[in-house]
Symmetry: D2
Subunit: 336 residues, 4 copies
Amino acid sequence: MIRAAILGATGYTARELLNLLLRHPEIEITALTTRQDTRLPVAESHPSLRGRLDLVLENLPLEEVAARADCVFGCLPHAASAAAVSELLDAGCRVVDFSADYRLNDPQVYAKWYGVEHPDPRRMPETVYGLPELFRESIRDSDLVANPGCYPTAAVLALAPLLKQGIISPKGIVIDAKSGISGAGRTPKPNLHFPEANENLTAYNIGQHRHTPEIDQVLSVWAEVETAVVFTPHLIPMDRGMLSTAYAEPVRDITTESVLQALSVFYAKEPFVRVVEHSPSTKDVVQTNFCDITARRVGGKVVVLSAIDNLMKGASGAAVQNFNLMYGFPETTALL
Amino acid sequence: MIRAAILGATGYTARELLNLLLRHPEIEITALTTRQDTRLPVAESHPSLRGRLDLVLENLPLEEVAARADCVFGCLPHAASAAAVSELLDAGCRVVDFSADYRLNDPQVYAKWYGVEHPDPRRMPETVYGLPELFRESIRDSDLVANPGCYPTAAVLALAPLLKQGIISPKGIVIDAKSGISGAGRTPKPNLHFPEANENLTAYNIGQHRHTPEIDQVLSVWAEVETAVVFTPHLIPMDRGMLSTAYAEPVRDITTESVLQALSVFYAKEPFVRVVEHSPSTKDVVQTNFCDITARRVGGKVVVLSAIDNLMKGASGAAVQNFNLMYGFPETTALL
Amino acid sequence: MIRAAILGATGYTARELLNLLLRHPEIEITALTTRQDTRLPVAESHPSLRGRLDLVLENLPLEEVAARADCVFGCLPHAASAAAVSELLDAGCRVVDFSADYRLNDPQVYAKWYGVEHPDPRRMPETVYGLPELFRESIRDSDLVANPGCYPTAAVLALAPLLKQGIISPKGIVIDAKSGISGAGRTPKPNLHFPEANENLTAYNIGQHRHTPEIDQVLSVWAEVETAVVFTPHLIPMDRGMLSTAYAEPVRDITTESVLQALSVFYAKEPFVRVVEHSPSTKDVVQTNFCDITARRVGGKVVVLSAIDNLMKGASGAAVQNFNLMYGFPETTALL
Amino acid sequence: MIRAAILGATGYTARELLNLLLRHPEIEITALTTRQDTRLPVAESHPSLRGRLDLVLENLPLEEVAARADCVFGCLPHAASAAAVSELLDAGCRVVDFSADYRLNDPQVYAKWYGVEHPDPRRMPETVYGLPELFRESIRDSDLVANPGCYPTAAVLALAPLLKQGIISPKGIVIDAKSGISGAGRTPKPNLHFPEANENLTAYNIGQHRHTPEIDQVLSVWAEVETAVVFTPHLIPMDRGMLSTAYAEPVRDITTESVLQALSVFYAKEPFVRVVEHSPSTKDVVQTNFCDITARRVGGKVVVLSAIDNLMKGASGAAVQNFNLMYGFPETTALL
């Protein structure tokens, strides 16, 4: 049994992660931390877990976390996360980090987009980006995996193989993405108040979302092309689910069938990517770790659509998939 | 033209009220107050009003409000409201008060349910309850009208005529009520955060909601019976709309048809109550000032269902209806 | 491995059941039937299952179903179900029937509420009602289990122990129940069209819902009291989740604490019933097999609230719980 | 008083139109047609109108419609509409047609996209496109106005001025549009069944939506540029509201401020277009005739966002705006 801890266990990704870990036959959950000082039974924070997990949320020192856990899932905000994670790694834990801290390679890019100096810049360039479809082998050997952002997961799975194979041009890519509101986290905010967000639709952080450099970096590292994607996220009045609609220029004249074929071949052995002919619905992937992808040739563009559950393949499901790779368990354990 | 002001103009009821007042041919909006010190254009708080109303939210002294307005609509929280309203009345304004402050007659009942001493107990027993269907004539002559709570409006319209005519017993009445989430106001709270409230259903304040004594009092004053209703409100994942499902014992054996007939006769001339044979849908009354009512005899009970828009007939529409009565305008002005 | 078939595998309960069966280590799914003649891959009907289950929906003769399966889950409409189930039982299958056909004991009551003669009246009185909390031992030994209706599950779990212990009176019980829209099935209907059902709230089948006699019968059989519940179901604009708010008269003066205590003791060892002090939220039980219950003494009533997922504890989760009992597997297998 | 009729009065656009016409001081509604033979009170089809409009839906011959009405609002499906409209025009009625029939100029383009021969090709090239912001003067003089599609309204208002002024290039324009589900009409369909459409998000008719040639034509006619827009509509789980996110290449280097300035100047006197600096929310325009627009320069693109209510500025509100122009009433009558 692997002893697992969660740092920052009060949010939505932690709750989804707990649901998965409880189903994992090789995991024992041993510590849940919070930055609040009250010792709260986890069911007070996540009532859906009542009767399933008899643990207390604790404001634990990191050495205690390291003593209790082999593997730590970090659900802390950026900057706070790297500060804790670096210490846990030094203490011998393996870590899957949900924050953005180890996704970017370049401390200066990080400082520009996140507005703070990175607390652990040394590890940035060497940390593996936890998208198994692109970096599976490196994940297996890593003690630290940077769990990808939800938008990058959806967009990169759609675009990366087509870029690498020279089917679409790296220039002029537009990613119009739509996310359910759980992606904005559990902290109440005026624009996420039910009567404001319900029956409403809006774009946010137009051209300024922090997932933009993450997408460009992963495409650049893996597909070896320089992109400068135009990325517009939208808030959709639903709990969970994410759809990315990406527009790119074909390098040569190419049919819908050829693009679908290229995607199908590339993902043929992937357990969690389904290349489909129909237009993907988020509802088909919600509560699962699947990513459904399709593509169309439309006029001067190739349109690639990809749907995931932002809390699963876009967060906690991906983390468990990474965990399974890190520890040599079947990749789908607890996920199917 | 009647010059109108709104106290506390940043909430949902104020926004709905502004929409109605802008359509009213006899009203000029002259002041909008806020307790914050910034002078904010109203469109900053209510973007839907951009280009329609060129006013600023101001932290105005009450004498300035009184100087600018003939009629004041009070949208302040309880206790704060009575403190302001009493001063405005003394300064010669007429007032429609949305708060609970003047709905109850008895200062002790108020203190028990609201947890504070009433700032203006003298006016409590004499203030008219602004439900035109029961108190139309008194409303016409009043300088102060207590705009009813949303749950009491739905429940009282359903029950009052049947109690007065001795069709149902005052004993053992159950009111199971359901409200859209705008009824909980505009302040973000954890349980009203979109991913918590959406796709969720829960009862709240079971047996302890402050509208309970209001319902009992109005039924007692108007129908001259003593009730002790059991009232359970529920939060429904929708913006607006309210359904009250009331259960009472018939005094004598009576058919569905007879109950419907009694309601139809009683409301025959009412412009905003529609007695229907089908089960009322909130969607048929949302964005309107209507209350749709039906009834059924089921086993040992009479079931009376009533649907309103909590922000219209349950708040701002009722306020305009009261305003029209107070100033002698056709009762439906700006409401149809 | 138990070979399992599903009759009528295109609906929502079948989809949920498939999700559970795929996770069950002792089950092999061997046949999925439909009444349409096309051989459709199951993923065409349930795209969320793509890549997880490589089976075809077939219009199979019952002898073929019996040849392929040890246990059959019946998801056919009433009357059609009993006709098929009786044949499968005769052929040696064990059956969990989701339809209403074997829930009622009395053919005449069935004919009155369902408008058809029962095709297999002989088995009606002897069939066990598949609510493990009340009938666990009989379920173990049965070849046919009548899977309970969703509303009866929520209401009976709330009321049965209090009736049996003489805490509440069998007279004058009101059950005001609210259900997500998946409970109405997968067939498109005008009132379930998204723009009609969304942001809407209405009661339906007031006093005439077919689950009424089912509730009365189970309370009568198990708690040995005669009830005539007044039952009003409401349609809530959400996918899934069900809340029952039941009102009963206390037999003697009793506190909230005592009622909660009685419920807690009764359900102490139940794996899927959680007696809670807070007001239950459907969102805490959705996607789970749990039923969360609380109670309050309010004025002259005891109010008992219970929340389930209508597709899980109200349908497919209960079916798997029954299956586990029938075959001697741990009761929570595939359900936690 | 202008006598007005509605052809095909059972759908959502007709219901919204009725709400507006009832508020219009210069209109008398004299006929509502349906293709069904029962004479149904309009409140049976639209219960929200009960008590407000005492008319019957009738399967009227067109000569009877022409005898009763000066102006006819056509809400029939394409092809059926032109057949009826041409007859009504010949009989001397003026017509606002909601269908697509008179929007396109070219019968061959119509036949290609709509799959039928146009019944009245002669009038196609000469009919004015009812977008007052671009074609106000021609609308005033017309007896037939083609009410625009909802997607074209949102997209064209965003793009037309920027194209005409040479700010953005006509090449490579992408329109990623999102609509509430009322845009799909009132007929129940499997994908619009509440439990399918709710909490779901999907693109549809990718690159094949019939509004594509309409957008290209209007931009070409008015802005005198040839576009071949790539248009992807998405279905959003909400009743109403539409957001268009358009991506175009700037012709020259240009800032966000300059684009906003160009839009602000162009729309300065328009009563229903609001150029805003924030990201537009559909909720700010729902239930109104407004279109809120903003723009951003992002990398190599100009992003232009526009929000409307698909049933108002995208349908019935636009129709009333056109009616007001045709009859010389203030353009905002019944719309503010």
